[in-house]
Structure formats: structure tokens, C-alpha cells
């Protein structure tokens, strides 16, 4: 007999709705949830590899306690009681001696993040951070500087757009199924795609216009676009007059940034820049300048992202069909969101965060996420205070924080490292204890509050019982909490208990999710009234081109353009990184099917440059930066800008039990220097220069 379960994928962080078919206790088939518009049975290659993940013996099968040196791979198998006793005993000592704030928990945001946050609040530590800042901290800050609303509450109406401009948002390789399908629909109906990237990607091959921009020069391009849009009055005057604060200042500011000037900076012909401005203006307000998915490339990241958002405001493509919109929560239709454990009362925490977010030193990044790349610096410098214990929850500081060697050094100063993960990540391998989490197919999870044009809730529901001795993350944290005397904050015995408590007061029951996997608060899409109803949360209630958030903290709203640095040596390049459709960040490289598709990363290098350096296609390259080095195969190509080299993120794994990915390719994090956009919060992942030579 087949059983069908509606759930949520978790091969990446997007959480596409899925339908899982189970026969005799085994998952036999996964498809996209047919009831969800824009999904309609579709999945991406990673989603298709879910079964391969589930039955992979190379994931963590039971709790393990380290017996040898850190990273040596000597482990003993432990029961859950043994493992949590071990952790609890160490943790109690650390908290007693150094205070709760000496404990840090880093995670990739997930449905049970409110549980981890509760755990940290209960031990009186302000040091919860998410991966978000490492990916898009500056996008978040840019959105708040203009709208008073973070990027997570801003959506994109791909389906109805007439023209979309993507700045390295490689939408057809870094796949979100619904976004891809909605954009493809729009393009089938005639929507245009402009793609800007120093590298030719799959997305570039589908574009109507492609610009191989000089890496790092996006801001120059945007200043010139703004220049021409204001000069030729190509903007949506009605929208701008109603909603924008600071247009005159922007007009004055962009006077020197002509298309001819930008041509020299970007390599894009001035007449082409002008023609994009004129062309896209004709389709306003159903146009999108995509503000980015990952926004963590340069030290001026926040200003690049602001310039993109400003272009949308000028086109009036905010809260418009086919433009960008603000997501609506249940409150918009008189509904209530699912409860979260953090609603409980906690003692006030007086110490600053480890990353100093919220202090004068680092005022603007979002304290809900923190700034993860500060972790090695905070540990090594004991600034603002000593840190002693790290919990890594589905997050790998060794592969996601720039400068892995620095991170390793920092880890050596810690008394306790605990990893909660499905896979043998590099941090799991370097931990004192690994606590294996049940995979997404084996667990029920906390409610997903899906805000958007139509507020909804989704449920990840257990499809099969755990194959190995694993537990749900929220149960793991509860078990540790029970043993360190904070169990009163975790009053549930099972995930079902927790979900039922979450739904209390929402008017929905857990059974309501059975029919389709989700529930909706209302039937219609909600757009706010563009004349009077846009609920901006800036102090002025307007879109603040001149930003009170920035200026009050001592930052400029419009900084002068600083030319991009270009390496003077022939063998030196800017390192840029990105994604392939086959892999998610650092977590899928060992998946049997996905590893079969892409098993190692290559170094893309421009043909002419390679020829001068004697580098041959497929030959080995020695690559090094100021902080690390490695050996990687060359991909010699015309598809790469000559000033940069490119590699896929997430390779070069060091956990030996992840055998297929072990030592395959090079980890970009080993090469990247730990540079931060101190205004916005993102790391500058494309601001490292590397030296290459034929090995």
C-alpha cells in the first residue's frame, strides 16, 4: 500500500513543498506538491536526490564522542544519554566559570530556529547567529535603510514581470523551483532578461542581453543607470513624488556618473547602458532589478544593493504587479501566526553580542542574525570577552566563514564544540561531539510561516521513521536543556506536541495540513494601495534614498564611487565564487547522485590569460591567497572575464567519512580573506586576490 505524505524539501534552504510516496516504510518517490501553484509536481536536481540522501550510509548514523585529537577521526559510538550527559557536564562547568555568554550557537536558519534561540536566551547568552549575514547581511541592511523592512519580507513577482535585470543572480543554476518556473512563464510570454555577470552561466545563455561586467563594478553601472534615468526623466514620477525621500540629493550626487564614465569602469559600452535605461523604463512598473539572493561580494556591498533597490523605486516597481512587493503576514487578513518558543519570558541579557552587532562599533547589521564571520576574530582576540563553547547547527564555520585556517586556529581555543547535522560536515569532523539530526524525510518540523502575497502556513511532516539513531533538532536541544536545568522552557515531548502548541490560537489544527500540506489564511493576493497604502517602516514613512538609518549611524547615503582594484601582476586575479544546479552550499557534495553530476570544482580562467601563463585546460593549478592555498583543475574558457577566476563554492571537504567529497577540489573558504562590509554586515567574498600558476 502506498502512503502519500505532504511535506517540505530540505535539500536546500528554500523548503519547496513536496509530496512523498512511501511503500512498506520506504520512500519510493518524491515530487513537488501538485497543489501548490508554481510548483505543480516539479522539483530540482537536489530535490530529486532526496532518496539518495536518505539511504546514504555515509551520513552520521548515531551520536559520537571524540576520542582522539580534534579532526583525527577517532570516535566512539555513544547513546543519546551518554552524548547529552557529556555535553551537559562540560556546558555546566563552562557556564558556571565564564557565564552563559561564553557559549555561541551558529545555524543556518531553519524551522526550529526559534527553539535554538530559546536555548540561548535560557542560558543567558546573546550569541545566537545565523548563516544569513554570511549570505546577505548587507541586502538585509540595505532593505532596512530604504524601507525599514528587512529583505526577508520583500518578495519578487516574477510571473508578471516584463523585464528583469539580474546582477549575478544566477537564477537558472542557483535554483528555487517556483522562482524559475514563474520567470520561465513570464519569459514564454515575452518578458526580457538582462543578465550581468563576469562569468557566462546557464542564466546568461537564456538572456536577451548579457554583459560581461568587470568584476566589482556593479555600483558604477548602477550610478550611470540612475544618472540617465534621472536626466532623461525616465522614472515613474507619480510614484517617486509620493514615496521617495531624497530624490534631489540623489540627482545632484549622480551628475558626474555618466554612462561614458561607467563604460571605463565596467567595460560596458555607454550606448548600451543608455539603451537599457530607456528600454526598461517603457515597461515600468512591471520590471525588476533583482536585489540579490546572495549579496556578499564586496566591501561596498550595502551600497550596491541600495543602488539596485533605488532603481526599483525609480521605476515605481515596488508593490506593483511584476515588480517587487512587501510580504503580507497573517495579520494582514486578521489571522494569527504560529506561536514560537521565544515568546516566553527570559531574564535580561546585559552583555553585548560576540560580534558587537548593535553596539557603536557595528551598529547596523540585524541582531536577529548577527554577523557570523566575526566568530574567529572574537574567539582569538577574546573581544569582547572569552568564548568557550560552540554549537554548530546545520552550519559549517569551516566552509562558510572566510579564511578556514583562521577559523581552525580559533576552534582550537574552545573547550567544547558540538555539531548537530545530518551530514559529516567539516565542522562535525572537528567537533567533540556529533549529534545526528534526522533528515527532513524522517522528521516532523516546526511550522513554516510562509508570508507573501497570500499568507500561508506549511508543515514538514515525517514521511518515514529514522533509518539510523537520529533525532529532530528541537528534541536534541530539549534533551540537553533538560540536563542543564533549563528544561522548563521546552515543555514538549514530541514534535507533534510542539506543532500543536504552535498552532494554538491560529484557528488551524495539525490535521488541516493533511489534505494539501499547507493552509491559507485568505484566498486573494494582497497588494497595498500604491497611492496611499504602502506601509513602510522608515521614520519618515517613505522610501529613504537619504537614509536616517545610515546617516544617524554616521554613514553616507550616497558614497563616492571608488574604482575597483585591479591586480598589477599578470598571474593575480580576483576570486569570484558561485553555485551549480547540482549542489547546495556546502552540504550536498557527498550525495551519491549529486556527486555523480558534479564531483569537484574547477578553476575557470580566461583563455588568453591562461595561454600567457602556460595553463592548459584540465591541467592542475596551484592557487594561493594571503591566507591559504590549494591545487585545482583548470577550466580554460572565453566565458570568464580576464580579471577574475571563478570556482564553485563548497568543495574540498575534509571529513574522511564523507568519502565521495573528501579532498575533491578546493574550498573557496580556504582562500578567502575575512573582509567585511562594516556598514551592511556581509563578508566581501569577492575581494580576495589569488595567484595562480601551472602546477
Amino acid at each position: 500500500m502506498n502512503k502519500e505524505v505532504y511535506s517540505l524539501c530540505f535539500m536546500c534552504s528554500i523548503r519547496c513543498p513536496i509530496k512523498v510516496t512511501v511503500r512498506h516504510g520506504q520512500v519510493k518517490w518524491i515530487e513537488g506538491n501538485p497543489h501548490v501553484p508554481g510548483i505543480e509536481k516539479s522539483i530540482c536536481p537536489r530535490g530529486a536526490a532526496g532518496i539518495s540522501m536518505l539511504y546514504d550510509a555515509q551520513r552520521v548514523q548515531y551520536p559520537m564522542i571524540r576520542t582522539g585529537e580534534r579532526g583525527s577521526g577517532s570516535w566512539k559510538k555513544a547513546s543519546w544519554d551518554e552524548a547529552t550527559d557529556y555535553i551537559a557536564e562540560k556546558l555546566k562547568k563552562i557556564i558556571k566559570k565564564h557565564g552563559g555568554h561564553s557559549v555561541v550557537l551558529g545555524e543556518r536558519t531553519q524551522l526550529a530556529t526559534h527553539v535554538s534561540k530559546t536555548f540561548m536566551k535560557a542560558i543567558k547568552s546573546p550569541n545566537h547567529f545565523t548563516h544569513d549575514a554570511l549570505c546577505k547581511g548587507s541586502v538585509n541592511t540595505a532593505c532596512r535603510s530604504l524601507f525599514g523592512i528587512p529583505d526577508s519580507e520583500v518578495g519578487i513577482d516574477y510571473k508578471n514581470t516584463k523585464h528583469i535585470v539580474l546582477y549575478g543572480r544566477n537564477i537558472f543554476e542557483a535554483i528555487s523551483v517556483k522562482e524559475v518556473r514563474n520567470l520561465m512563464d513570464a519569459m514564454s510570454g515575452g518578458a526580457k532578461l538582462t543578465y550581468i555577470d563576469p562569468r557566462v552561466t546557464v542564466t546568461a545563455t537564456k538572456a536577451n542581453r548579457y554583459w560581461m561586467i568587470r568584476p566589482g563594478a556593479d555600483l558604477a553601472l548602477n550610478y550611470a543607470l540612475i544618472h540617465i534615468i534621472l536626466k532623461e526623466r525616465l522614472y515613474d514620477a507619480k510614484f517617486v513624488n509620493r514615496w521617495v525621500l531624497g530624490l534631489e540629493k540623489l540627482e545632484d550626487f549622480v551628475i558626474p556618473y555618466t554612462p561614458e564614465w561607467a563604460e571605463k569602469e565596467t567595460g560596458i559600452p555607454a550606448d548600451e547602458i543608455i539603451s537599457l535605461a530607456r528600454e526598461i523604463s517603457k515597461d515600468k512598473p512591471s520590471v525588476i532589478f533583482h536585489f540579490g539572493y546572495r549579496g556578499a561580494s564586496h566591501a561596498n556591498e550595502i551600497y550596491v544593493r541600495r543602488s539596485i533597490l533605488i532603481l526599483n523605486a525609480l521605476m515605481g516597481s515596488i508593490e506593483s504587479k511584476g515588480g517587487i512587493f512587501f510580504k503580507k503576514g497573517p495579520g494582514a487578513v486578521g489571522g494569527k501566526p504560529a506561536r514560537k518558543l521565544v515568546e516566553q519570558k527570559f531574564e535580561k541579557i546585559e552583555v553585548p553580542r560576540f560580534d558587537k552587532v548593535g553596539t557603536k562599533e557595528f551598529p547596523l547589521p540585524d541582531p536577529n542574525h548577527g554577523v557570523g564571520q566575526m566568530l574567529p576574530l572574537a574567539i582569538l582576540n577574546e573581544d569582547p570577552y572569552p568564548l568557550k563553547a560552540l554549537f554548530s547547527f546545520r552550519f559549517d564555520p569551516l566552509k562558510s566563514i572566510p579564511d578556514s585556517n583562521l577559523m581552525l586556529k580559533a576552534l582550537d581555543k574552545l573547550d567544547l564544540i558540538v555539531t548537530i547535522d545530518v551530514n559529516y560536515s567539516d565542522i562535525a569532523w572537528y567537533s567533540d561531539v556529533i549529534l545526528p539530526e534526522s533528515s527532513y524525510l524522517e522528521r516532523t518540523d516546526c511550522i513554516q510561516q510562509a508570508n507573501g502575497l497570500k499568507p500561508q502556513m506549511f508543515l514538514r511532516k515525517q514521511a518515514v521513521t529514522p533509518r539510523y539513531d537520529t533525532l529532530e533538532g528541537a528534541i536534541i536541544l530539549k534533551r540537553i536543556a533538560d540536563k542543564i536545568g533549563i528544561g522548563n522552557y521546552f515543555q514538549y515531548e514530541s514534535m507533534e506536541d510542539l506543532v500543536k502548541w504552535q498552532l494554538d490560537g491560529t484557528g488551524f489544527k495539525i490535521e488541516d495540513f493533511e489534505a494539501k500540506g499547507f493552509v491559507a489564511y485568505g484566498k486573494d493576493q494582497i497588494f497595498w494601495d500604491r497611492n496611499d497604502g504602502i506601509k513602510l517602516k522608515t521614520p519618515s514613512g517613505k522610501i529613504e534614498f537619504v537614509s536616517s538609518l545610515l546617516e544617524n549611524a554616521g554613514f553616507k547615503s550616497f558614497p563616492e564611487y571608488e574604482p575597483v582594484q585591479v591586480a598589477s601582476e599578470e598571474n593575480k586575479f580576483r576570486l569570484v565564487v558561485g553555485r551549480a544546479a547540482a549542489h547546495t552550499h556546502v552540504s550536498t557534495q557527498n550525495n551519491p547522485y549529486l556527486n555523480e553530476l558534479v564531483s569537484e570544482n574547477l578553476l575557470w580562467i580566461n583563455s588568453k590569460k591562461a595561454s600567457k601563463l602556460g595553463i592548459k585546460d584540465g591541467g592542475m593549478i596551484e592557487i594561493s591567497s594571503s591566507v591559504g592555498s590549494g591545487k585545482i583543475k583548470a577550466f580554460v574558457t572565453d566565458l570568464m572575464h580576464p580579471e577574475a577566476v571563478f570556482m564553485l563554492h563548497g568543495f574540498g571537504h575534509k571529513a574522511k567519512k564523507a568519502d565521495r567529497a573528501y579532498n575533491r577540489g578546493v574550498s573557496d573558504s580556504v582562500l578567502q580573506e575575512n573582509i567585511t562590509d562594516k556598514t551592511g554586515g556581509s563578508p566581501a567574498l569577492h575581494d580576495t586576490f589569488v595567484t595562480v600558476k601551472a602546477a
Binding site: 530535490g47 530529486a48 535554483i175
Partner: protein, 167 residues
């Protein structure tokens, strides 16, 4: 020919390989064999624009299949009711004659069982009224499955729209 036709709308294909992975997952195949495969040709610049082809390669289910003729045991067969070419593992001895015979590389070697596997349009699914695995989950819906007579409409419609003048 089989009575079916599997159409790939190359304009919508993004070469993501979800079809390949779902196919393998559905047939519980090990690393190695790929009954369907996307082959990327390019990208290369055509004028100012980089262009690439993402070519979908399943089995063509030929009218006179070389593989069936070459098979010494009768394992490789053509289904009478609809012309699907499939391999019956009961009779496959792993001689690879079909692999050598097929001009398009459709039969694949499964080293775990020492037998050949190939695209059979997921005939079990078709008999259940479903579509092949690859078509069902295609990320962009660029794959369509139907009887040969029904298909081809997409290209006609798109071409008509592109040349239409509403003046």
C-alpha cells in the same frame, strides 16, 4: 516507433539534470548508468550573446531497434501494445550486445547487477496512468510526454506568435 513521443522544449530547458536524477532515483540505480541524460553543448558566443544547447537524450524507442535485433536472449524487447523498447532482467545475461548495437548510447550498464538498464518511458508508471519520471518532475516543464500525433503544438504556437502581426 513507439506510439509515444517525448518532446523537449529546448527554449525552456535549463540543463539542470533534475530529469536524470529523478530517473535514477525512480529506478534505484547506482552511480554510473543514466537512462536519460542532458548533454550541454556550449556555451559559445553567437554575436554578443552566449548560447548553449541542453540536449535531452533518452531512448528513442526505434521502429526497428538495433538493440532488440542484437540481443541474443530476447531480454531486449519491444512491447507489442505500444512499441516501448525495454529490457527484461530475467533474461538479460549482461553480454552488452545492445550497448554495442545502439547508435545513440541508450542502453546503460548497471555494474551492481551486471545487467543493462535503459529508458522504458517508466512503463509501469504509464500503465498506472502517470507520466515518465523525468517528465513528471521537470523543473521548468520543458519535457512533455504524449502520443506522437498530439505533440509539436508548442513550437507551432510559439512560431505563430513570433510572426503574428496584429496591426
Amino acid at each position: 516507433m513507439s506510439k509515444y513521443y517525448l518532446y523537449q522544449d529546448t527554449k525552456k530547458c535549463i540543463g539542470c539534470h533534475a530529469c536524470e536524477v529523478q530517473c535514477k532515483s525512480n529506478k534505484a540505480l547506482p552511480v554510473g548508468p543514466k537512462p536519460c541524460k542532458i548533454i550541454t553543448v556550449g556555451p559559445r558566443f553567437v554575436g554578443n550573446l552566449p548560447k548553449a544547447s541542453y540536449v535531452f537524450m533518452p531512448c528513442f524507442h526505434c521502429e526497428n531497434p538495433w538493440c532488440v535485433a542484437a540481443c541474443p536472449t530476447g531480454a531486449m524487447q519491444k512491447r507489442i501494445k505500444d512499441g516501448i523498447v525495454f529490457v527484461d532482467h530475467e533474461h538479460c545475461v549482461g553480454c552488452k550486445a545492445c550497448v554495442a548495437a545502439c547508435p545513440w548510447g541508450a542502453p546503460q550498464w548497471n555494474k551492481e547487477i551486471g545487467k543493462v538498464v535503459k529508458c522504458d518511458y517508466c512503463m509501469g508508471r504509464i500503465d498506472d496512468g502517470l507520466e515518465p519520471a523525468c517528465v513528471t518532475i521537470c523543473t521548468t516543464d520543458c519535457l512533455e510526454f504524449g502520443t506522437a500525433g498530439e505533440l509539436g503544438g508548442v513550437r507551432r504556437e510559439r512560431f505563430a506568435k513570433s510572426v503574428a502581426s496584429l496591426d
